[in-house]
């Protein structure tokens, strides 16, 4: 057997080309050891693939249905203009708010019919980021309210970010309640996975009253992006 183990692997992985591949295949016909070594690699590849194909992927909570998706795609283009999503304008400078940067005011018609939709996401426990998330949310709400434009806003927290919405862990409990009462068009959402993780550790999340339990943060963000919302990672 004149071929190295690397060459046998490369053939099994479809990495040999041209004359190298031809030489290898010619040798396979008469070299039983080479055939056996190749069989072993191919068997191992099959077993590996099979071992992980059987793995059960965690079930995701879905709000979406086929009809919802079609409707959301149709609505996308109108929303994309008003939300600024198609501009690809994501958060770049963490020290300024989206509203200050004039992130999304490309309205296609009068302000009165424009609808601006944002989902703010916080995924780490960081008091500075907690403050920035609430600053960002309030700045957007004030900006569009002053412009007499419609705005819808969600703040979703997962992983360490969930602490922003936990009575015993956040320094901003009163502020979250105040914003929630002052603006009917904002929703604070806690990721169901993060809540579940805490409960598995024997910790009761004790969410602020104004906070709703949603699906997973990922599902919520994907759903909103499909609906044309702008995604802002804090």
């Amino acid at each position: 057997m004149k071929f190295s183990e690397d060459m046998i692997n490369a053939y099994a992985d479809g990495e040999l080309l041209g004359s190298e591949k031809d030489d290898f295949e010619a040798a396979l016909i008469s070299d039983a050891d080479l055939q056996s070594a190749l069989d072993e690699v191919q068997q191992l590849k099959r077993e590996l693939r099979s071992a992980y194909q059987q793995v059960e992927v965690p079930v995701q909570q879905r709000e979406s249905s086929a009809n919802y998706r079609v409707a959301s795609y149709i609505g996308l283009f109108l929303l994309a203009f008003s939300s600024g999503w198609i501009s690809g304008d994501f958060v770049k400078n963490p020290n300024t708010t989206s509203a200050q940067r004039g992130m999304a005011t490309q309205t296609v018609s009068a302000d009165s019919v424009a609808l601006n939709r944002y989902i703010l996401h916080i995924g780490t426990h960081d008091d500075e980021k907690f403050k920035r998330a609430l600053d960002e949310a309030e700045a957007l709400l004030v900006k569009y309210q002053n412009n007499k434009s419609l705005i819808e806003l969600e703040v979703i927290a997962n992983a360490g970010g969930l602490d922003l919405f936990r009575e015993n862990a956040t320094p901003y409990s009163e502020r979250v309640k105040r914003i929630s009462q002052a603006y009917p068009n904002i929703r604070f959402i806690a990721c169901s996975n993060a809540i579940e993780r805490l409960r598995e550790q024997g910790i009761e999340p004790n969410l602020i009253n104004a906070v709703h339990q949603g699906p997973t943060a990922l599902d919520q963000v994907v759903m909103r992006m499909n609906q044309g919302w702008s995604y802002i990672k804090i």
Partner: protein
């Protein structure tokens, strides 16, 4: 700029990111061997992908791009959780237990158990090549390695896997041929519970 096309592309990319969840989960599980952690890693990777969606200029590079994000999340986790260890050498195998032995009768578990016993550097290479059929050059890009290193790690990984699987199959044969069936069944019951 064709705004219509741009918007369509973003819709398609968001959908593609969302649809990558299953394959990323399997890859993450092959790397960390902890279902809950794998789910967290994938969530974080997908969130980052959504955040960085505008950075993907070439749709054909999607696979490499999303696995690179997953790899960065995984390495970030390892650096944070095991700061004093050499990441390439980290293995994630559970210690042996009666339950572990009984589960070895299942071939899929035999293979996954062998994977868990590989050093991280080998485990990542062999899973990217064999679970998703990525080319050596794609794997080299994702893991930031020379192709020669990918090939040598792959070879070492496969040799170690074969050896471990053979050993565990022998254990299965010994268990199957055991006359102490009651003991075997008791072990099985403990797993079922």
């Amino acid at each position: 700029m064709n705004v219509f096309k741009l918007a369509c592309r973003k819709v398609a990319l968001v959908k593609r990111i969302e649809q990558s969840r299953s394959k990323l989960y399997r890859m993450a599980l092959a790397w960390c061997h902890d279902p809950m952690l794998a789910d967290d890693l994938v969530q974080e990777a997908l969130m980052l992908a959504l955040q960085k969606i505008h950075q993907l200029n070439n749709d054909a590079a999607f696979n490499g791009w999303i696995y690179t994000i997953l790899n960065n999340v995984w390495l970030g986790y390892l650096r944070k959780s095991r700061p004093t260890e050499d990441i390439d050498k980290i293995i994630v195998a559970d210690s042996a237990s009666p339950e572990h032995e009984v589960l070895l009768v299942q071939i899929d578990f035999v293979v996954r158990s062998a994977m868990a016993g590989l050093p991280n550097a080998q485990r990542q290479v062999v899973s990217l090549v064999d679970l998703d059929g990525l080319s050596y050059s794609e794997v080299a890009d994702i893991l930031q390695l020379p192709i020669g290193t990918v090939m040598s790690r792959l070879n070492r990984a496969r040799k170690a896997l074969s050896s471990s699987i053979i050993k565990n199959r022998k254990l299965y044969q010994d268990l199957s041929s055991s006359t102490d069936k009651d003991k075997f069944d008791q072990k099985k019951l403990r797993v079922v519970k």
